[in-house]
């Protein structure tokens, strides 16, 4: 099993979710996060006082899938979340040691 962590632009959530459903992803977890990469934030001006906002709001998606599906998931997110401009985000893939569905007690692949 793989854990795929994707940091994406907030307005790209719906296209990504739809594309993932189409390839058979059952569920995902979304968290609102802030951070910075090469995008470096933006500037806000309040009555003449300029503030550079270094931390940009993003969404973090966490998806656990079977090993064979993982490359497709990465590819799908990558395609659906892209705008071509700076700040589109990043995707990380990690190995997962185990999984349990709490309601039934099923484990690993069947728990996904």
């Amino acid at each position: 099993m793989k854990l795929i962590i994707a940091i994406i632009k907030p307005f790209k959530l719906d296209p990504v979710r739809e594309a993932l459903s189409d390839i058979g992803v059952q569920g995902l977890t979304v968290t609102e996060v802030k951070g910075y990469g090469r995008q470096k934030g933006h500037t806000e001006v309040y009555r003449g006082a300029e503030y550079s906002v270094n931390m940009v709001p993003k969404l973090k998606l966490e998806i656990v899938v079977a090993d064979d599906l993982a490359p497709r998931v990465v590819e799908t997110i990558s395609a659906a979340a892209a705008t071509g401009s700076i700040g589109d985000g990043k995707i990380f893939t990690l190995d997962v040691g185990g999984a349990v569905r709490i309601r039934t007690g099923e484990t690993n692949r069947t728990a996904l």
């Binding site: 001006v45 309040y46 009555r47 003449g48 006082a49 503030y51």
Partner: protein, 435 residues
């Protein structure tokens, strides 16, 4: 004809020969209660109350950081309450009591002595006049807080206000609005408080900001407003309440009130649009905070001229105030490096000075103003400038004394730890938001 003076001139006329060309008051007739005037003035009084809590509280509260929201709401509410009590105990008497000289009246109406429900002030009950005036002193004191939020101790704020009202506000109200008052006798025009309320509050806020010093992290850390939504709600309440403030200053349901009403609409609208336009010209985006700031700038500028201008003159005032206040706040203030937190000076004092001086212009009949055939522009302009200069000197000295005493008694400023953690928890032990 003498220029139209605001409510003060007329209000003080009760029991004395009535001033100016008011056909309703024949020279020798005893004043009688007018129910229409009374009804309007009670409404106007509570409209001004709505400007303080919730209006000003939300306007200022939205502009500070989340951790200081509750402290601003608490300060505005407490300061207004203190000012109300002080007004009936001795403030009204100092400003509008019988007799008195150039700088204050007397204490003969202290504790509301001699005033009953049958007492009249012009055509309205004197208690209504007392209450209307009371709301002015309360909002002026609360406006000063805008210069010192996010770092002043709550105790210091209360001690400052307790001293500042008798040192600065009551004498200035007497000087500008009461018969016998220094500036009043010059013939200065201040319909609804450009000098007494706005120049006064703005300059006091600046003095406080200088004595208090900058907030930790000023011009280094993010101090963006935590809720411009609330600031807009506050702006709306201030605008609505300002109709009571300006149109109420006619002291009756009259044509003068109608003039002040229309002027309060159009000056504000012009200032909103021209503040945002100025932002654009200065290379920024037209912002909601700019619109809210422009609204206040326009409202402030039209205040002294509300009944002393035609609607086109009011638009002119709004345009000038919108542009100049925006330039001051956006470009001049950052260079000064004074942390006058919420621009009480930049908007109220600058807008008030513009309004007070330009009142001499808007009076011109050529601009649709109410000046009569014998209106002398040059002489009036000099009087207006003189009034502004005297007010600024008086306010600077008086508020410096009040802030200094408050500093000696309380230390004035919260500890660094409290300032970083926020005044909500540090000073009041509660938060504005629990989620």
């Amino acid at each position: 004809m003498k220029p139209t003076l605001g409510w003060a001139g007329r209000a003080l006329a009760f029991g004395a020969p009535l001033l100016f060309s008011l056909p309703a008051f024949a020279q020798d007739a005893e004043p009688v209660l007018d129910t229409g005037d009374t009804a309007w003035m009670i409404v106007a009084t509570v409209l001004v109350m709505a400007m303080i809590v919730p209006g000003l509280a939300l306007f200022y509260g939205g502009l500070v950081r989340t951790k200081n929201m509750l402290s601003v709401l608490t300060q505005v509410t407490a300061v207004a309450s203190l000012a109300m009590l002080m007004w009936v105990i001795f403030g009204y008497s100092m400003a509008f009591g019988d007799g008195g000289g150039a700088f204050m009246a007397s204490f003969n109406k202290a504790f509301m002595a001699g005033i009953t429900s049958d007492s009249l002030s012009g055509t309205i009950p004197e208690f209504v006049f007392v209450a209307f005036q009371m709301t002015f002193s309360a909002i002026t004191a609360a406006l000063v807080i805008g210069g010192i939020v996010e770092r002043a101790k709550f105790s210091a704020v209360l001690i400052f206000v307790a001293l500042w009202l008798p040192l600065v506000y009551y004498p200035l109200a007497h000087m500008v609005w009461a018969e016998g008052g220094l500036i009043f006798e010059w013939g200065a025009l201040d319909f609804a408080g450009g000098t007494v309320v706005h120049i006064n509050a703005g300059v006091s806020a600046l003095v406080g900001a200088i004595i208090l010093g900058k907030r930790i992290g000023y011009q280094k850390e993010i101090m963006a407003p935590h809720s411009l939504t609330m600031t807009l709600i506050g702006t709306g309440l201030l605008w609505v309440g300002w109709f009571g403030f300006n149109a109420g200053s006619a002291l009756g349901a009259s044509g003068g009130a109608g003039l002040a009403l229309i002027n309060t609409f159009v000056a504000t609208a012009a200032a909103i649009l021209f503040w945002m336009l100025t932002e654009k010209v200065l290379g920024h985006k037209p912002s909601l905070l700019g619109a809210c700031s422009g609204a206040i700038a326009g409202l402030v500028a039209i205040t002294p001229a509300a009944g002393n201008s035609g609607p086109m003159g009011a638009i002119l005032l709004g345009v000038v105030a919108g542009v100049l206040c925006c330039i001051f706040v956006m470009t001049i203030k950052p260079k000064l490096g004074i942390d006058e937190s919420l621009d009480a000076f930049g908007i109220h004092a600058v807008g008030g000075i513009i309004g007070s001086i330009l009142t001499a212009v808007t009076m011109l009949p050529a601009l649709g103003g109410p000046g009569g055939d014998d209106y002398v522009f040059g002489a009036q302009l000099i009087i207006q400038v003189q009034a502004v200069v005297v007010a600024i000197i008086w306010v600077t000295v008086g508020s410096a004394i009040a802030f200094t005493v408050a500093k000696l008694v309380t230390g004035l400023r919260v500890s660094e730890e409290v300032e970083r953690e926020g005044l909500d928890l540090g000073e009041h032990g509660e938060r504005a938001y629990n989620y």
